[in-house]
Symmetry: C2
Subunit: 169 residues, 2 copies
DNA sequence: CAGTATTAGTTGCATATTCAACTTTTACCC
DNA sequence: GGGTAAAAGTTGAATATGCAACTAATACTG
């Protein structure tokens, strides 16, 4: 890692203790904004890859990704994996089922749940979109050194874990 | 940085070249999803800090942040800084003005634009919310080493730059 | 095993968001 | 300068979203 620029922190130099004296937020180092802005920028641009040619919404695309990754899921697992509202997911799934992309079957083991899976048509759409999406991501990543990319994945994961811990507290 | 876990990359081991052979996306290392999920998780949880006690929407809060940071802006600059839709910002500003948080004056130099600024009341709200928001962020960051935090800021910035470059291409 | 609590998912409804079309003003250019 | 293009915001109308209340099923607990 070769970052040596000075960045003033929102949480103070000591990086420990509790109770914030400072009442001014510095956006240049305010994590929630930085991450959200970046996410929005990435999503918006990437979405052009698939919303134009296919009529997928971003939400549907994200669900498609989940189902392609795990092949069989319950809605609650998608909620867990994506941090999206369950009502949002419920409606998106209905729409995707109506379009024939998704199959839903009541789970034998628990009749409240339903087993979700991509249909053949769902897979077909996925296969058509995935390559250009991967290509776009590749371009994005080419802005980073290999080590930086690895570190980034590690850090994102670490923050996710942190979020979970904070939820419990 | 002490990340030594193996993470398979979506863009292939060589990390160079162009044209993707692979048609399967691995969510564990797919940057758009990882970043978006994290952003969503952070925003949602943090929002509880200010939506419950004040009736700010996330959009309004983000605008508040912008105005507190730059003290005088045009709407277009908020669009630029946040990647939000200009109509979204337009309506949020109207609402914020109606609530007395924001002042809008037509810009002398260009009558299409308007000079935006927080009112005293706007600042008051900001001062009431900022501490707990900073506190929450501090808790989040405490999950990282100091060097990791620095690296993260660096990487987020680098990706933003990369996005801009890609837009031009 | 009865009664209560939890969980999975859906839905009503109010609000928020998007896209495109529009107004007004400024910039460009011959 | 006159005419066209571009930019800053606004707005109508369709859609998406979030919250809370709801149904149905399972889990817990005495």
């Amino acid at each position: 890692m070769n970052s040596n620029q000075y960045i003033s922190s929102n949480s103070g130099a000591s990086h420990s203790g509790s109770g914030s004296q400072r009442t001014r937020i510095h956006l240049g180092s305010f994590l929630p904004s930085l991450i959200r802005n970046l996410a929005e920028g990435i999503s918006t641009r990437l979405a052009k890859t698939y919303t134009e040619e296919y009529q997928l919404t971003i939400t549907e695309w994200r669900i498609l990704l989940q189902l392609a990754e795990h092949q069989s899921l319950h809605a609650a697992q998608i909620v867990e994996n994506t941090s999206m509202e369950k009502s949002k997911i419920s409606r998106a799934l209905s729409s995707m089922e109506a379009d024939g992309m998704v199959r839903r079957e009541v789970d034998d083991e628990d009749n409240r749940r339903q087993r979700l899976a991509l249909s053949d048509y769902g897979w077909e759409i996925y296969r058509q979109i995935a390559p250009s999406v991967l290509d776009w991501e590749k371009q994005l990543i080419e802005g980073l050194e290999v080590a930086e990319y690895r570190d980034l994945l590690f850090l994102l994961e670490k923050l996710n874990e942190r979020l979970k811990v904070m939820d419990k507290a």
